[in-house]
């Protein structure tokens, strides 16, 4: 079905973006390690039934969250999906409230009212995690429109998966952003799979996002989503473009989720060889090696890993110590007046 359009693609490389200092790179490393360790803990807590409902891990995809977060201004906006832990933490939201939210505690990011699929921290520019496929793309357009209208030079960055390119909202949002030249960056995290179906089996083009960019007058961009530096570079360019009033971008970041789709899904539908191939491309060890090459010491990196590990343990304790949401919360904040009254 899909035509080979490789020749049209422009693979971004690390060289043509702004350069990062070693210190900044060490911080991107720290972020990736934090996302990884946090989610491993979340998975354990799910198995122990501390996390109820569901949970969707980004393990294997951390470089995208880290690279984008590093390229964003503090007042830029993130729009994420149900698979939103990584993007939330990467923007600087502390681990404790995120973990507590997964556990349905009152010290959770939304006091337990949202749950794992709806992580939101307006204070950190995390403008919500959305659990209906495609919905947040038009919403990100709205935030971008507001930035454009008010002249604040803020940029909205909107993450979604490869399976999302086939829903109507994707299409409406891309066209809308293009014609209004909105400061929004759409990021397709192409991890090859939807839930249990391979995206290429239900998508008419080979590269789900990049092969559709031209339908919106946009450049076709694919980046190695398992390379934080490459992501940072592409992100910086797209964000700068948006900030300068040059309109939206659509970026396809190739990656893989190491775990199943959600909850305890073992992901057995995927061929072993494919999983092995991608585990070998794990962004974190790769980045670790690169940092060593670029002058970091093994000690420095181990220290980062240890510090994160301590922080994850602490967050776990703090989250567990949180109490159950108080009953008053049930009838709070349907309306702007703080209440839920629909009658007098």
């Amino acid at each position: 079905m899909a035509k080979d359009k490789k020749e049209k693609k422009k693979d971004s490389t690390v060289t043509d973006g702004p350069t990062l200092t070693l210190e900044e790179k060490l911080d991107m490393y720290r972020v990736q390690v934090e996302l990884r360790q946090f989610e491993k803990r979340a998975y354990d807590l799910f198995l122990e039934n501390f996390v109820k409902g569901t949970s969707h891990l980004s393990i294997g995809q951390e470089a995208i969250a880290a690279g984008f977060a590093a390229a964003m201004r503090k007042d830029d906006w993130t729009f994420a999906t149900y698979r939103g832990h990584a993007h939330t933490l990467a923007r600087g939201v502390p681990m404790t409230p995120v973990l507590a939210e997964l556990m349905g505690r009152e010290n959770g990011l939304m006091a337990g009212k949202g749950g794992s699929m709806h992580l939101t921290s307006v204070e950190h520019g995390v403008m919500g995690s959305y659990a209906i496929i495609g919905a947040h793309l038009p919403i990100a357009c709205g935030a971008a429109w507001s930035a454009q209208y008010r002249g604040t030079e803020q940029v909205a960055v909107c993450f979604f998966g490869d399976g999302t390119v086939n829903i109507g909202a994707f299409h409406e949002a891309l066209n809308f952003a293009a014609i209004w030249k909105l400061p929004v960056v759409f990021v397709c995290e192409n991890n090859l799979w939807m839930e249990y179906t391979r995206t290429s089996e239900v998508t008419a083009v080979e590269n789900p996002a990049a092969d559709r960019a031209s339908a919106y007058g946009l450049e076709s961009i694919i980046v190695d989503g398992n390379d934080a530096d490459a992501v940072y570079s592409v992100a910086s360019r797209a964000i700068a473009r948006a900030r300068a009033g040059e309109g939206p971008s659509l970026i396809e970041a190739t990656t893989y989720r190491h775990f199943g789709h959600s909850r305890a899904d073992p992901g057995k539908y995927r061929p072993d060889a494919e999983v092995a191939e991608w585990l070998a491309k794990d962004p974190i060890p790769r980045y670790h090696q690169r940092l060593i090459k670029e002058g970091a010491t093994e000690q420095q990196l181990v220290a980062i890993e240890k510090a994160v590990s301590v922080a994850v343990d602490l967050a776990t304790e703090e989250a567990k110590a949180g109490k159950a949401p108080s009953p008053e919360l049930l009838m709070k904040d349907v309306w702007a007046d703080g209440g839920a009254q629909w009658r007098n």
Binding site: A169, A336, W342, N344
Partner: protein, 325 residues
Amino acid sequence: MAQLTFREAIARGIAQEMRRDEKVVFLGEDIAAAGGVFKGTVGLYEEFGGVRVRDTPISEQAILGAAMGAAMTGLRPIAEIMFADFFAVCWDLVVNEIAKSRYMTNGQMTFPLVIRSGNGGGLRFGAQHSQSVENWAMMIPGLKVVVPSNALDVVGLMAASIRDNDPVIFLEEKALYASKMEVPDGEILDTLGTAKVLRQGTDATLVALGNMVPRALEAAEELASRGISCTVVDVRSLVPLDTQTILREVSATGRLFTIEENPRLCGWGGELASIVADEIFYDLDGPLVRITTPHIPLPAADVLEDMAIPSVERIVETVFRSMNS
């Protein structure tokens, strides 16, 4: 004081609020230079310019997504969904996103936005351009729902909706666009969640909404001549719902008749009847009766459409028969 049509009242209400608050922006299909397909937004583009009054593609999800994203970041958008039937193509944005996000985020976000839409039948547009969807909106927690029945209320309730900090579904009865009345000059600001008693009677209380209000009034007139004295209440706002006024007026007469344009099942009339049957059961003197469009899609042909939507005659006959049985 000038004669104002219902459609002119829309533009007047919006203009009043756009003048006082730069954060109010307006988007939709053919709403700018064209002035809207129902001519409800004539003059806004000319006064406020293309940055604040903006045409969109036929992309209802994008329209509402834009409104939502803008509202959560500090603007006060007004979005038009041309015909209320088209809510079906962007329902996710309305019910799953706009309505729920404040609650889900534990109050971190606020959505001061208005979605206006042409509602209801009577224009022989057929089943996909004639629906009354007030019950679609009422059933969703997190939405306010306003349905004015005359030009004066349009101006004041539009202003109140725009100033409100919650999402408001503002339904404009297409059959009323051409109706007119005297509307005072100067700023007009009404209050959401207030019903109006338009006529006071002693035997039965007729509760109506939107396009059914003038019919209820006419029916009450006719019923008076046949010896039945009716109170007529204009609900105006389904959420918040002025249950105080409604319960008081039903208690006073002991009889409730609701007059709904939406199809039979799960309408606001059933909701009211069940509130009444729960809370003031012992004040009732007889059955609670709902007069509605039957549970069918609306037909296009004039004679059939007129049979479907509650008419003055049907209201009169139904009330008369019920009061005499």
